[in-house]
Symmetry: C2
Subunit: 443 residues, 2 copies
């Protein structure tokens, strides 16, 4: 799941230096060479690699934590906000969770070698499509050292090499983690170049990575909107866009209103600043008077500021007495804002069609929830919105690889090509057609 707060150390400058290009080219070629034997490796060997990666991280915990402490100290000295420092900081417990997540990957089915479909054609040709690794995956992300190990694990388990460019604020942590993972790969006889960092190329590295068409098979940016926009604009390598989540909850006239209070509170407040948190609440006009005061009481209790349109403010007039500090006027810009904080836009709509139009106008195609008992309303909402995930009578917070049964997650794709929604191991694969004949020629 992607955080929406922007980490300035993940930003990228204009232009690409020759040194950065040379480094990225060298690293990507070495990654590709190391990936060839991995593509044919047994699941057993890949699992031994993951176990070695977990073990080596534990063994080297003192090094990794010392490197991380240096990063944190530097970040604090540079005035990094505490929310970002919290994402940067590791602890013994957090590092254990990272190691555990690597081991968890061994419990997932190996997508490589899976026969996706196949048939015998009338002329006797035997056709099958087989899942194969993508090859070399590039990743540009913010200063979150746990992502370094997570992504390396997902890549290795799916037969891929990975070239990482982390936020510079995490450079010491990432260097220590990457060194540990490389040593673990070598210990089981795999190439250490399966996991590489280009942090040494500095900010130029990210841009060189974006131009490495033919060397990098896919580039996944994970971070703030600015980073993702830059990658989409500049990359010649195919990109999977992730993370931007302006998520909506629509409460219909047919909703179970008590349930709808719980779901909205969960969607907004269970974890703030994540891409699957709700940012706008749309309420059917027929239930605004009943629902909004109850929902507002619970949201205010959790410290949420409501940015409400005129109709919603009218419905809240009485309830808001004494809570004026948590009720603001909403304007056009609120509909388009991914707050990433304890703020929620609120709008009263005449019906489900108006809710769908609002979502289509302002949504980012991530996750929307419809809370309704009327099956026609549910169907109209599901058919009408154009988002990666639609929740029916459930919190937007479930959009997550773990929560949806994928086991682990590379990120949440908000594009329609290749992978949409939470991306697990399968998102890191392609297919190959294998066609068997016996001297067949085309007539």
């Amino acid at each position: 799941m992607t955080q929406t707060q922007t980490d300035p150390s993940s930003q990228v400058p204009d232009g690409v230096g020759a040194d950065a290009t040379a480094l990225v080219t060298r690293v990507a070629r070495a990654a590709r060479a190391a990936q060839r034997p991995l593509a044919a490796a047994t699941t057993e060997l890949k699992d031994r690699a993951l176990e070695a990666m977990a073990r080596t991280l534990r063994d080297r915990a003192p090094d990794v934590l010392a490197a991380n402490a240096a990063d944190v100290e530097r970040a604090r000295a540079a005035g990094m906000r505490e929310g970002l420092v919290d994402r940067l900081a590791l602890s013994t417990t957090r590092l254990e969770a990272v190691a555990g997540a690597l081991e968890e990957l061994t419990t997932l089915p190996d997508p490589v070698g899976q026969v996706v479909d196949g048939r015998r054609l009338p002329n006797g040709l035997e056709v099958r499509r087989v899942r194969v690794p993508l090859g070399v995956v590039g990743m540009v992300y913010e200063a979150r050292p746990n992502v370094t190990a997570d992504v390396a694990g997902l890549a290795v388990r799916s037969g891929n090499a990975v070239v990482l460019r982390g936020g510079s604020a995490a450079r010491d942590s990432n260097a220590a983690i990457v060194a540990a993972l490389r040593s673990a790969l070598a210990s089981v006889g795999l190439g250490e170049d399966l996991v590489s960092s280009i942090d040494a190329a500095g900010r130029q590295g990210a841009r060189a990575l974006m131009r490495a068409h033919g060397l990098i098979d896919v580039l996944v940016p994970r971070g703030g909107a600015g980073l993702i926009r830059t990658v989409v604009e500049e990359s010649t390598v195919p990109v999977i866009e992730t993370g931007s989540g302006n998520c909506h909850v629509y409460v219909d006239a047919s909703a179970d209103l008590a349930q709808a209070v719980d779901v909205v509170v969960n969607a907004k407040t269970q974890r703030v600043g994540v891409c699957n948190a709700a940012e706008t609440l749309l309420v059917h006009q027929a239930v605004a008077g009943d629902y909004l005061p109850a929902a507002a009481a619970a949201l205010w209790e959790a410290g949420t500021t409501l940015h409400a349109d005129a109709a919603a403010r009218a419905a809240l007039a009485e309830a808001a007495r004494g809570r004026e500090d948590l009720l603001a006027e909403a304007g056009q810009e609120d509909w388009a804002t991914e707050y990433g904080s304890l703020d929620l836009a609120v709008r009263v709509v005449p019906d489900v069609d108006a809710a769908v139009e609002h979502v289509r106008a302002y949504g980012t195609g991530h996750t929307e929830a419809v809370l309704a008992r009327d099956v026609r309303v549910v169907n109209a909402f599901v058919a009408g919105v154009d988002s990666a995930v639609v929740m029916v009578n459930a919190s937007t917070r479930f959009t997550d690889g773990g929560a949806l049964g994928l086991g682990a997650e590379l990120g949440i794709s908000t594009q329609k090509l290749h992978a949409r929604g939470p991306m697990g191991l399968e998102a890191l694969t392609s297919t190959m057609w294998v066609v068997q004949g016996d001297g067949h020629v085309r007539p």
Copy 2:
């Protein structure tokens, strides 16, 4: 199947004019509006639309053929090569084939609404992934008017709108065809903006299309290597690369050599200038002396010039007497050349591993064939090359949506993301997660 010869009228200038951007924006928005009802349309209605499209093309054949005659005359006057004129020219028979192909699409399974997978999670959430249309498909292609109708048919059948930018040499033909298709769509109550051309924006239109991120869901360039490179470099819209095919045939020591002669002749000469034709023949050294003279005799008979390395020329020394005009020395550049003509590079290799290395060094990831009876050789080749399609004892010419059972084809993807190899209706779809709960919140 993509032609490899380059049509100069499909080339694209630098920079984007404001007019072109305005036109593309307007057309793409109208396409998206028209696509919404189509996304929910029944297969029945989409089939009625395809039948109307076919009927209207037949009804308007005189208009379409007159427009095409004007294009052909202009092209000849401008000195277009006859090979390209042949691809531009329509006839009553060819137009009937185009109409027939539209009707054929109604026999294919509708991918939209297909449940790709689903499960009930331990917490009771019901999760399913449902196939949905991509939305608005952009297509940049050369002066081949049949492609206009083919792509429109594939798009409509899979619930998508399409924005077309054809080679300017076909502009009158395309205008007549698009007008016919739009009128057919309106006649069954669908939006005519489902099929639009931006040819009016001139060469600027293609570039504006490439920058229409958020308006166009995927851009498919179909044409010469220069066009595809430009689109990959410039597009902010996700791209599917198609067509570039430097295809190899490897004849192993264990091959049935008589069969291998037939397959190579078919792969090279059955149709020249298409992306799935063979461009390089690799022969195991143990059989070069037996195989090459026999293969060369048949290839020379068909008028093929062989560009051979020293070892191959030695094996051919005797056979080549009197055919010196059809035997040339091969150099490094031949390995990298997609001739698109009756030319074939020939190289003798020590074993299958060397053949794989050659393919990895010079291939474009399209199609490779291995001709061998030794299963270990077959497996090493399939595992070693990194291409969309591997043919085992069959001609490279089978890489084609129709020939591989997809029924119809948008193009052949040589990238690994989203779609690889021949692209049928499914390549024009994405998936949406639908998650049903009963007030579920994330703990």
